[in-house]
Amino acid sequence: MADPMKIRATMAGDKVEVKVLMSHEMETGQRKDSKGAAIPAHFIQNVTATHNGKVVLSAEWGPAVSKNPFLSFKFAGGKPGDKVSITWTDNKGEKRTDEATVS
């Protein structure tokens, strides 16, 4: 099981600024190990952010996104105390969901 995401959701003016740091190796599938065998690709493909059940951002990622991916965005309509939930799914079907409270 992957490590939890670090999520910060803070008010920036009238918008909520969300910053997410995920823990994932993001293996490209281009690299070879010490024996010359290709290391299979293992990366996050889908990311979805929801606020009170409504999707505020969804993303499709390729293996070019850096290891331990960082993502930041802003959305309107949130207030302190609201919950922001982030889910990612990788190419092996593993997934993880974490939640943060807007402050």
């Binding site: 918008k15 993001m26 490209t28 281009q30 690299r31 070879k32 024996k35 065998a37 290709a38 299979p40 493909q45 889908n46 979805t48 409504k54 999707v55 505020v56 951002l57 969804s58 993303a59 499709e60 990622w61 390729g62 293996p63 070019a64 996104v65 850096s66 290891k67 991916p69 960082f70 993502l71 930041s72 965005f73 802003k74 959305f75 309107a76 309509g77 799914t89 079907g93 997934k95």
Partner: protein, 156 residues
Amino acid sequence: MNNDRRKVLKSTGGMAVLGLAASAGLFKPGSAWAQGWNKDAFATKNMADTVKAMGGSGAAQSADIVIASPDIAENGAVVPFTISSRLPKTESIALLVEKNPNVLAASFNIPAGTEAGVTTRVKMGQTSNVSALVKADGKFYYTTKEVKVTMGGCGG
């Protein structure tokens, strides 16, 4: 030694089968796959093909898209990018690195109410042009800038 080789063969064989099964559409769209992933777009080698794979016919250059990134990235494994669009009705923002093995790095869907701007970090194999591709009101727009990479981020 022999044992190791068998393990490697076995695991890569398994991956190949899994890949085939996936591309043949044998997986039922369960919750994990529900959102979808544009496999064709992520396999493209240039922006024209990426636009096609996303359902467009071409992209126009726009001064209303801004790429904020370092001009020179010391470490190609982690290059930060902030892309913002002032185009009305921005629906999606994608980041393309021209000289990576596959150009499309990431694509973001922007629902109404969400600011048309995202920040993320991507890998760059070498100095390359980087493009932000924005879909706004059904049309595609882009802007391009060069980012120099001192040390590549895709090597072993």
